[in-house]
Each structure stands twice: as C-alpha cells, then as structure tokens.
C-alpha cells in the first residue's frame, strides 16, 4: 500500500486548565475507515481530547494534521467544515425544534437569506434516518417527544448531514438498550465501510472488542499506549495500562479491628427505577464504606436517594433503627445525615458568601434565638470547625470562592461537623482537589471516622476507594456485583468487575 498519511494525526497535544494539566503530550492517529477506541479512567483526559478535536478547546501546544496537512481547529464550525463531527454524551439537541430542524441546525437550507421551512429539509432528514435504521422517526416531530435512543439517532443524523469524514462518539451506548446497541454497531459498521473513521469512547471493554480496530489508552493526560489491536490485546494488559499510575497517594492507617457498634445507617432494598437496583447496606459508626463504579453505574444516584434528594421507588433508609421519610432531605439532615455532593459549586457552596456562612448554613438554629442570629457565636463555631479540619486560610470571614478546591471541600465537611452529623455521604470528595491536598483530605476523613462518624464514600478513582474504605461495594450498571473488605481487593480486580461484571483471570 502507498504510504498514505493518516486521516487524522494529533501529536504532542497539551492542554492545561487552572490547576490541572488535562492533556500532557497526547498523540493520536486515526485511519480512514477504522474504529479507533479511546480508553481511560475518569479524568484521564478523554473528554478534553475530543473537545480539542471538535474545536471546542484550543490546545496549548501540539499539532493536528488532517490528511497530512497541519490545521488549526479554531472553532466547532472549523472542525465541522473539515468533516469532523462529534456526538457528545449529553445530547446537544434543541427540544422545542423538530427533528428536521435539529438535523439542519446551523446550516439550514436557505433561499435569499430566509430559512426555508421545507420539504427539502424533511426529505433529506428522512433519508438520513432511514440510513440509520430508524425510518419510523418522523422528521416533523419535536425532539423533546422522542426517547433517549431516538434522540441519539437524531444526533447522529445531524453529524451525517455534513460531509463527514470522522465521527467522534462519546459513550454512545451508555443510554441504550441491548438491541439499540446492536443497531448502533450496525451503523458504525456501515460508516466505516464507506471510509468514515469513528473515534469511539466507551467504558465497556466488550464493546471495544466487538467493533474496535485499534485502541489508544489514556492515563493522567498521556497516551500510555497508541494503536493497540482492539480484538487481541488481553484485558489484563489494557487494565494494567489504564491503572499503572504515576502518582502514589498516601492513605491513612485503618483501625486494627472492625467497628462493632450498632449500625447507625441501614439501607434496605432501596431502589430507583432505571437508576439502581435494590440495595442493602449497613453502616456502623467508625466505618468507611466505599462504592466503586464507573460514571453511570448509579453511585451518585444511590447517595442522593439515601439523602432524600431523590425519591426512591422502593425500599427504605433507617437511622438508628428509625425509618426516614422517603424523599425528604430535611428528614435526613435532622436524623444526622450530611452530604458532600459531587458538584461542589453547583450543589453545596454559596459562592457569594463567606466561609462562615457556608459552614453555618445547616445549623443556623444553633446560633439563633427566635430567628435572631448571634454572629459572635456563629463565627466562633465556624472557626472551631474549620480549625479542626485545618482549613486554610485560617480566617472564616474570607469569601469561599477564594479558597482552593480542597479547602472548599473542607468547608463542606465543616458544615456537617458543626451540625453534629453522624453519617457523612461523600460523593467524589477529591474531585477538583490538587493531588498534593488529597492526602490531607484522606487523613481528615479517616480521623472523622475514628471519632465515630460513619462514612459512605463514592469515587470513580478506584485507588481512592481501596485506600480509604474499610469495606467496598462494587457497582456495575446500578447493581452491586461484589462486596468485600478493601484489603481483599486490588485495583485490577475492581476494574475487571466494574467493566465486565465478572472477574476475569
């Protein structure tokens, strides 16, 4: 074969965000007509890489070659003009527009500058939908009325409405039923037969084996392996590539003996339709239990349902043997539960306020009489709570937004400490926290447990769960597939479990 340049060739791509180096010299080659899989743990840099490819992020350094020519993808439109289309995980469709209007959004057929509402658009949309195996979708229907799977088809039709040479699919199977996945794979097969390249991102190894040609593995912002054969590389090797890490975390010592106190939190048959299956869980004072699983495995949903922020479809939560009113955050908080949510800024912090007010917001009644706040007592208590966690700077009057991620997280913990909470639910507690500050946060969490708190920890970083928790529940697609003491598990085994549902050897 003639030495034809690859369709796409990215080399030495770096991209930094404040405090994080998301991409650290990534290389990626994609040939026309292949399915190239991107694999990596959460935070490995996959999303950033595809955003660079889609023109949504500009790389700090590095070159991108398209059919051998160096190009700059200044904007999503520039990428689209070259023939690069991206189908994001969160579908970016306009619900109040019709299928045809969505497909042609941004490049509506026009006449004399006016958008032609018309048959041409509908006809071309219908042709695309037929090609995608979904002729039953009416181009005139509103996108908001379609199912998630159908919306994804529309998203794909939109990508194909351009003269596309490369399609990026970010976890396209996450929202699909098995037969819909089959249809997706058929479409991918048709596309590649036409010479279109597909960059396919998925957590599911078995999918990658089925449709992938080559695999690039990302870890900590680097491509640790490029162009491995997708079908023949042993799972062990892939997992090892994904997990071998550069940064070693220091985890605090576990107590010698398991706590034997009466359980403080009992979860019995708790379930939410479509999110997670009935779950049983017992948490004792002094214990840290970890939930390990991938994004979409139902981890955050479980925490939020226990906390009452989501209403369960079955089951109950008991604290000290008393059942909580389902779906009531206030009942949970009153019973002694506290949540440090995943999206700290959106779900926990009052960004315009001081540290003091962020810490005291859940226990205002403690510093007030008849609704009147004793601000001296409030400040004193906030100071004591933040000092206990060595929050920096040691001045609770500063605005919370000036704090680092780790210290903002400490402020959230201080909020529950001040409230006298007994069960802490931690959802990705170290997200957005500098690597250096993590060890300190781990020590804080362990100390709180030693002082008698029960902690339920969710993290997509497997080493974090294994290093911090006493007991680990492994989740896969809303179901607990394995429960074991953390000492008896290692990262490979957990990753095998979360990806394939059963241990491989």
């Amino acid at each position: 074969m003639a030495p034809e340049p690859p369709l796409l060739s990215m080399s030495g791509i770096t991209k930094s965000f404040p405090g994080v180096r998301a991409l650290d010299g990534v290389d990626l080659d994609v040939q026309a007509g292949e399915v190239h899989c991107l694999l990596g743990q959460n935070g490995a840099g996959k999303s950033t890489l595809i955003k660079v490819l889609a023109g949504a992020h500009q790389p700090d350094t590095g070159t991108i070659r398209w059919r051998g020519d160096a190009v700059t993808l200044r904007s999503p439109i520039a990428a689209m003009r070259l023939g690069i289309a991206t189908i994001y995980q969160e579908l970016d469709l306009v619900e109040h527009l019709s299928v045809a209007e969505n497909v042609h959004l941004g490049h509506e057929p026009t006449a004399a500058g006016f958008v032609v509402r018309g048959k041409a658009a509908k006809a071309s949309t219908a042709a695309l939908l037929k090609r995608l195996g979904h002729p039953e979708i009416d181009p005139g229907r509103l996108v908001g009325e379609l199912s998630a799977a159908q919306q994804q088809i529309v998203s794909m039709a939109r990508a194909l409405s351009h003269d596309v040479r490369l399609i990026v699919m970010d976890e396209p199977s996450a929202a699909l039923d098995p037969d819909e996945v089959d249809n997706l794979f058929r479409i991918v097969g048709d596309l590649t037969a036409d010479g279109v390249a597909v960059v396919y991102i998925s957590h599911r190894l078995e999918e990658i084996r089925r449709i992938g040609d080559r695999v690039t593995v990302l870890k900590d912002g680097r491509a640790v392996a490029g162009g491995l054969p997708a079908k023949s590389t042993p799972t062990r090797d892939v997992v090892a590539l994904m997990t071998g890490r550069n940064v070693e975390y220091v985890f605090p010592e576990r107590p010698v003996s398991a706590p034997e106190a009466a359980p403080v939190l009992e979860v019995q048959g708790l379930a939410r339709d479509g999110e997670f299956e009935p779950l049983d869980l017992v948490l004792r004072p002094g214990e840290i239990v970890g939930l390990a699983g991938l994004v979409g495995s139902g981890r955050s949903e479980i925490l939020e349902t226990i906390y009452g922020a989501r209403k369960p479809s079955a089951g109950q939560v008991r604290v000290d043997g008393r059942a909580l009113r389902p779906g009531s955050v206030r009942a949970a908080v009153r019973a002694g539960l506290g949540l440090a949510p995943e999206e700290r800024k959106a779900q926990a912090l009052l960004m315009l306020e001081s540290v003091t007010r962020n810490v005291s917001v859940s226990s205002m009644s403690r510093f007030s009489r008849g609704g009147w706040i004793d601000r001296g007592a409030e400040l004193g208590a906030a100071r004591a709570a933040t000092r206990e966690l060595s929050l920096r700077p040691d001045n609770p009057a500063v605005p919370i937004r000036t704090l680092s991620g780790g210290n903002q997280q400490k402020a959230v913990l201080a909020r529950w400490l001040l409230r006298g909470c007994r069960v802490l639910l931690l959802d990705e507690p170290t997200r957005g926290v500098d690597v250096g500050a993590r060890a300190e946060l781990y020590a804080v969490i362990r100390r709180l447990a030693d002082e008698g708190l029960a902690v339920l920890l969710v993290s997509s970083e497997v080493p974090e769960v294994l290093g911090l928790a006493d007991r680990v529940l492994v989740l896969r697609e809303g179901r607990v597939v394995h429960t074991a003491p953390a000492r008896e598990l290692d990262e490979h085994r957990v990753l095998d479990l979360v990806m394939e549902g059963s241990p491989t050897s």
Binding site: V329, L350, G376, R383
Partner: protein, 339 residues
Amino acid sequence: MTQHASPPRDNTDKVPSVGQPPSWRGLLARADVRTLSLLGVLAALVLTGGITKPDEFLDTRNLQLVLTQASVIGVVTVGMTFVITSGGIDLSVGAIVALASVWATTVATQDYGFAGVLFTAVIVGVGCGLVNGLLIAYGGMVPFIATLAMLASARGLALQITDGKTQIVTIPGILDLGERDAYVLGIPPLVMVFAVVTIIGWLILNRTTFGRRTVAVGGNAEAARLAGIDVRRQRLYLYLLSGLCCGIAAFLLIILSGSGQNTNGNLYELDAIAAAIIGGTLLSGGRGTITGSVLGVLIFTTITNIFALNNLQSDVQQIAKGAIIVAAVLVQRRTASVS
C-alpha cells in the same frame, strides 16, 4: 449593610493570619464603596437641586414632600429587595397596592373606621402575596409568570370594585395623619413608617435566620436544599412578605391621597425593581442590600422632584431614569468582575 462579617474582638486574634488577600477589611471597604457611590450620586442630585432651584428645592416643605413620596414606593421596595435577593421577582406589587387601597376604602370597609381600613389593606396585600407564594413555591410556576398573572387580575379586580371612580376617605383619623399637625419634629408619619420598615427589613435580612435563608436560596437554591433548608416554604414566606409591604404601602397611599383609586401604584413594580437593582441587589439573587434599595428609592424620588421643579416633563424624567439604571448596572458589573 452587607457583610460586616465579624466584630473587631474576633479579628484581634493571636493566630497568625497568613495570606488572606481579601480580608474582612477589604470586604467592608468594598461594601462601603457601593454605598458611598450611591450616597455620592444622591449628594450630587441634592446639589443640583440646590443650585438650580435654591429656594424651592431646599425648602423644608419640599424635602418633606420628597421623603413622603419616597415612603410609599420605599416600603414596596423593601419587600421587593427580599424577593429579588431570593432569586425571584414580584411584578404584581403595583397592582396589589391598587387593589389593597381600593378594597380598604370602600364605603363598607370605611364603616369599620381606622382599624378596618388598615386591617383590610394589610390583609389584601398578604392575601395576594399568599396566592403568589403558593403558585410559585408549591405550584412550580415561574415567578415572572405567576406575578404577571397577579398583576393583571388584581388590577382588574381593583377596577371592578371602584368602577373607575375615586373612593374618598372620610375617616378623620386617617386624613389627620397626612396633615402637618401630625408631623413629629418635622417628620411626617409616613416617613416614620418607612424608616421603621427599612430598619426592620435591614435587621431581618442581615441579622436573622430568615435573611440568611433568603440569601442562600437566591445564591444557590440547590445547595440550600441539600443543606437542609426548606426552600419552598422560604419562597412562600418571601412573597407573603412582599404582599405585606404592599398592604402597608397601600395604607400610606390612602393617607397621602385621602382616597383609593384603581390606578394607584401604577408602574410601582418597575420603580421598585429599578431602585433595588441600582442599590446593588443582584437580579440573579444571592446578594441583597436594604440600604442600597432605600438609597435607590431616594435617588429616583429626588430626580423626579428636581425635574418637576425645573418644569421638565415626565418624558425627560423617564429617559433619565433609564439612563441611570443602565449606568448603575454597568458600574456594578465592573465592580463585580474586579472582586
């Protein structure tokens, strides 16, 4: 006004406070800058009035008139400030003032005398606020829509009650409050009511759990909910509070005009929102200042007065108001991005 975060004794701490760029002094200074600039604008306006019409503007009677006019809209603005701080909006305040003022001045109501009129004005205001609050907090309606509907219905009901006629107040006790004899140390009773409402409003917003919850709901409703705050109940209370302020304002208007009309409170919603915004309350919620709102009201009322004294028509006033709103918001955005 806003965050005088700590009494001094707490800051003379022995612990070395390392690296705290925006210290509480900085915060205080920034809060003061906002208030000071408003005071500066007000001073400039007073100066303008004093120069252009020295005899008329600085006349005691004129200053009393300005303050009296500011009182009615001022009370409404205090309530509006709470609603906006919580991330909401109340477009129905003017209509509620109108409805409360005509309901309280019907012949039937006036039979019950002073207390009957006052009671009716307040109850009608609170009742409308209750409907707003229930629709928004528990009915899941967008505040803009719910209060817009209330605006239309309350105005319509006010028209129906009066049939477009002015309802004259005949109760001497009410009319007397508007007379000069009722002034204490030269201060009209209306202005005293305004001052009391302002002080209570300031205390509630800055010193109570109710105020904290209001700010928390406006700053981040989801975070407030997950922190254990009953967001819906708080929203209900806030629209009740706004309705209560409208009821009080309606009573002040009855004293001021000696009558009730269905055209009362026309465009109060815009004046109150504008005053709160130029005062420094964030339209997106999460930060509110009663002091700023009151200064905003005084600025607007003073402009109106100076323009009237200089025989400038109301069209010019409206244009000037619009320009001030734009200028204030632009200035705020700059200070916000700096901080």
